[in-house]
């Protein structure tokens, strides 16, 4: 950078200011600026600052409902934040810009450092400075030993250090010693592992997928055969859902245990699964699925996420036909497992669509695993099945399932109710075994209740790599912070003249090459030992 200013202007090549050169200079300066430590620091701050809104504002990736609610509540401010991608922080343009720049800056910093490191590995320790007493650490004494003996003693003491021996013009012998290269090694390992981790993370985002599905715990099956099998599915950027790892799961039972306070103690789902070769032979393998203990098979993982109740209703129509359904209801209150949902029935034997749309039934309301009535109002006092009851509305008319619009399985279409197409014909509290009779003689009976579990299948081919890089990162970090880089010089000068002919002046100097490394104690110990050894042999010789 200094060469241009050092040379007089007249000696410059005439085309120095031509645009290709200026462009080159601009690129070079930009590159230098980008890869400088100062820029890296600022980018680190921007990264920290940019990540903050993700913790403070609801995020689409975590909860879409909350984001919509936030935007609705905050008017123009919410819409502005949405425009600026504040609800998708980690996918936003500005956050990506920061980490991409940081990534580039890191690469730009690491490449030259790696070359420098390789050169240093081969280089000899630097020459002994002329004035060792100017070093931050310094000690000296005189001895009867010859300079050669002093150097030999020092060499044997400095085992494990990188050394060179030199004879100086004045006849003095000196050793330059250096130690702590591992620090730079660790530092480079840390930064490269960080790069690797980011790359592996990005690859994971491409090829991973995650799907959630509710399965009733009565021997029902679920197969990972396609996106349609899931209730919700989040694919990575390169996943189209056609090539999922095939495996099947059968949920036989689900057993939660609770403390007397209602706090859950343990969730256990007894499942059986088939994967790989078992799919052909048809063999089922048992597994006890628990929170914190996912099923790992064929590179995929199956998790137990949630549980709930599915009340079973049987409808007996006036003509005597019966229909039984157990639709899962969702927990409205996680601590008491008070659940809400809708179980929907079509009247059998009705072929005329007009007629059909007048006779559909919806059983909707609340279900309590342990009923507690406050007057007629049902609530739940305990999350486990002790005394179940339901408070239901029987709705009759057009459920709107033929309208072509998607419908939640957990509720009836309220717009149908508002239109008057769906009318309430009864509202009652019932317990298992009890039934409700409506005006046309149709009976709705609560038979009992089943449990369901929410399962999640996750697939991330690169997470093992992320783990590997994380371990390397940690090892590199630890090494680079613990190891000190330091230098030590010993000079033995014969003091040929004066009061003490034949004696040798031993000087030791030390320099820590890292910030606040605390080299002092080591230097004091080392130099003390060295001087003592030379002095001790001096006594023996006497």
């Amino acid at each position: 950078m200094t060469t241009a200013t050092d040379s007089p202007p007249t000696q410059r090549p005439p085309n120095n200011n031509s645009w290709p050169r200026r462009l080159l200079a601009f690129i070079r300066n930009t590159w230098r600026g980008l890869t400088s430590m100062r820029t890296a620091l600022i980018l680190l701050f921007l990264l920290a600052l940019g990540a903050m809104p993700g913790a403070l504002l609801p995020q689409r990736s975590l909860n879409t409902g909350k984001v919509d609610q936030y935007i609705a509540q905050h008017g123009w401010w919410g819409r502005l934040l949405d425009q600026l991608q504040f609800f998708d922080v980690y996918a936003s343009v500005w956050f990506s810009a920061v980490y991409v720049l940081l990534f580039v800056s890191l690469v730009g910093c690491l490449v030259p450092r790696t070359f420098e490191y390789a050169q240093q590995l081969r280089a000899k320790p630097v020459r002994t400075p002329r004035n060792l007493n100017r070093m931050p650490h310094h000690a000296s004494s005189t001895t009867d030993m010859s300079p050669e003996d002093v150097v030999a003693t020092a060499k044997s003491r400095l085992r494990g250090w990188r050394l060179t021996e030199r004879t100086e013009e004045s006849g003095a012998r000196s050793i330059s010693a250096e130690r702590g290269f591992l620090r730079e090694t660790g530092n480079l390992v840390f930064h490269f592992a960080l790069l690797g981790l980011i790359v592996a993370f990005a690859i994971g985002k491409m090829f991973s997928y995650e799907g959630q599905v509710i399965v009733q715990a009565n021997g029902s099956q679920f197969c990972n055969s396609g996106v349609y099998a899931y209730d919700s599915f989040t694919p990575g950027l390169r996943v189209d859902g056609t090539q999922l790892t095939p495996f099947c799961v059968k949920v036989n039972s689900f057993t939660p245990t609770f403390l007397p306070s209602g706090q859950p103690e343990q969730y256990r789902a007894a499942i059986e699964y088939q994967s790989g070769a078992d799919l052909r032979t048809g063999q089922w393998r048992p597994y006890q699925l628990q929170v914190n203990e996912p099923l790992r098979t064929e590179g995929d993982r199956l998790y137990l996420l949630d549980h709930g109740y599915a009340p079973t209703f049987t409808v007996t129509f006036p003509d005597g036909t019966k229909r039984t359904k157990s639709t899962q209801w969702k927990p409205a209150d996680q601590t008491t497992m008070l659940s809400q949902g809708a179980t929907k029935f079509d009247r059998p034997g009705v072929t005329d669509p007009e007629q059909r749309r007048k006779t559909q039934l919806g059983v909707t309301g609340l279900f309590a695993p342990t009923a507690a009535f406050q007057g007629p109002v049902l609530s739940s006092s305990f999350p486990d099945l002790r005394d179940p009851a339901a408070a239901v509305d029987i709705m009759r008319g057009d459920l709107g399932v033929d309208s072509g619009r998607g419908q939640s399985i957990f509720e009836i279409d309220q717009s149908q109710v508002r239109k008057g197409a769906l009318k309430r014909v009864a509202r009652e509290n019932i317990r298992p075994g009890q039934e409700i009779t409506i005006d046309d003689g149709t009976k709705i009976r609560l038979d009992g209740v089943r449990r369901w579990v929410a399962l999640q299948v996750s697939h991330d081919p690169s997470q093992v790599w992320v783990l590997g890089f994380a371990v390397a990162l940690l090892a590199g970090l630890g090494t680079s912070l613990v190891v000190k880089r330091r230098r030590l010089w010993v000079r033995a000068t014969p003091s040929g003249s004066g009061d003490e002919p034949g004696r040798t002046v031993v000087e030791i100097g030390g320099l820590a090459r890292t910030d606040q490394a605390g080299y002092g104690e080591e230097f004091t110990r080392l130099s003390g030992e060295l001087l003592e050894q030379t002095a001790a042999s001096h006594r023996e010789e006497n």
């Binding site: 430590m37 100062r38 890296a40 620091l41 680190l44 701050f45 990264l47 920290a48 990540a51 903050m52 993700g54 913790a55 403070l56 995020q59 990736s61 975590l62 922080v89 980690y90 100017r134 070093m135 931050p136 993370f201 995650e210 403390l259 306070s261 706090q263 859950p264 103690e265 343990q266 969730y267 628990q290 929170v291 914190n292 996912p294 993982r301 998790y303 996420l305 999640q456 996750s458 991330d460 997470q463 992320v466 783990l467 994380a470 371990v471 990162l473 940690l474 970090l477 630890g478 912070l481 320099l511 910030d515 606040q516 490394a517 605390g518 080299y519 002092g520 104690e521 230097f523 004091t524």
Partner: protein, 328 residues
């Protein structure tokens, strides 16, 4: 496993006792601050800085032991020094009581004693005090003990009142050996990071005084030297930062087993990441010309502020997967 009420009650008693002992220790250390001959330290420090000014950064002029490193006076120790030593002795006693409280809590609940926010704060605080006591063996910073105990006492007061939770087993998601590893290392590293946070704030106070002698005129003279505060902050951070990194990695491994993904930008994860980035910035700033000293200390203080924010705001205000505070 049923909760043993007797042990739980004794654990609570030990906790309250520990707080009281820390407060007493603060009183003694403050007395040394107030009546000690602060000038003697300031003078020594100044000469030390002059010696180091010529070459590369001076280092390791540390005086070993808790004593102020002065040649022992012939007679009995002066009263302020004796008070300060009593303060340290009380702090050690406080740590003992505090640890007893944790052990009893663990025995009462039949699990490791860091399953909710009250217990977490307790573990973090005890680590911070132990870290400080260890540092005092190397650095003669005894007269700054008050400034460390102040946030500890405040945190423990909040922990014992607003955050207090009765001993109970933990919910299914927490029943994993990762609770032992992840939460203990997070709590310990956060506690250790309190020490550089305090040291950096004190450093900033001293620098403010250097820039304008009117500011913090009384306080500044009684603080340890800038150089020592800087070294305390750096040494503690380079120890705590890898532990914190380890804790985050363990958290990711646990999240993979419990929630189906190792990283999902849950609020707690996000703020932990932010704190990690800030401390990384601190370490880099010390290798950047023009960023050492005040700026580095400011960054370290910000890092600690983020850690505290992560503890209180994220646990109590936002909702995420890490909602295990047990407060409610």
């Amino acid at each position: 496993m049923p909760v043993n009420q007797t042990w739980s009650t004794f654990s609570d008693y030990a906790y309250y006792t520990a707080v009281v002992i820390y407060v007493l220790a603060m009183v003694f250390c403050t007395a040394e601050q107030a009546f000690g001959r602060e000038r003697r330290n300031a003078g020594r420090r100044r000469s030390r800085e002059l010696v180091g000014a010529a070459g590369p950064p001076p280092e390791s002029v540390d005086t070993p032991g808790i004593s102020t490193g002065q040649p022992a006076p012939a007679g009995p120790r002066p009263v302020p020094e004796r008070l300060g030593r009593m303060g340290i002795a009380l702090t050690v006693l406080g740590v003992g009581t505090h640890l007893t409280s944790l052990v009893l809590r663990g025995l009462a609940a039949g699990r490791v004693p860091w399953g909710n926010m009250y217990e977490y704060v307790s573990v973090a605080c005890v680590t911070a005090v132990i870290a400080w006591l260890v540092l005092l063996r190397r650095f003669s910073a005894r007269h700054a003990t008050t400034f460390l105990l102040l946030p500890i006492v405040i945190l423990m007061f909040i922990g014992g009142t607003a955050l207090y939770t009765t001993a109970a087993p933990v919910q299914p998601a927490l029943q994993s050996y990762w609770l032992v590893i992840h939460v203990s290392t997070v709590a310990a590293s956060s506690g250790m990071l309190l020490v550089p946070g305090v040291a950096s704030v004190l450093y900033l106070i001293r620098r403010a005084n250097v820039a304008n002698p009117q500011r913090f005129a009384k306080l500044s003279g009684k603080l340890p030297g800038e150089d020592m505060l800087d070294r305390i902050a750096y040494r503690t951070t380079i120890f705590a930062f890898p532990v914190y990194t380890f804790a985050i990695i363990c958290g990711a491994i646990w999240a993979e087993a419990a929630w189906g993904r190792f990283w999902g930008w849950d609020p707690k994860e996000t703020v932990a990441f932010i704190a990690w980035v800030v401390y990384a910035a601190y370490l880099h700033s010390r290798a950047t010309a023009g960023w050492r000293g005040t700026r580095a200390a400011a960054i370290n203080s910000v890092g600690f502020a983020v850690t505290v924010f992560n503890l209180f705001f994220v646990n109590l205000v936002t909702t995420g997967l890490h909602s295990y505070a047990g407060v409610g």
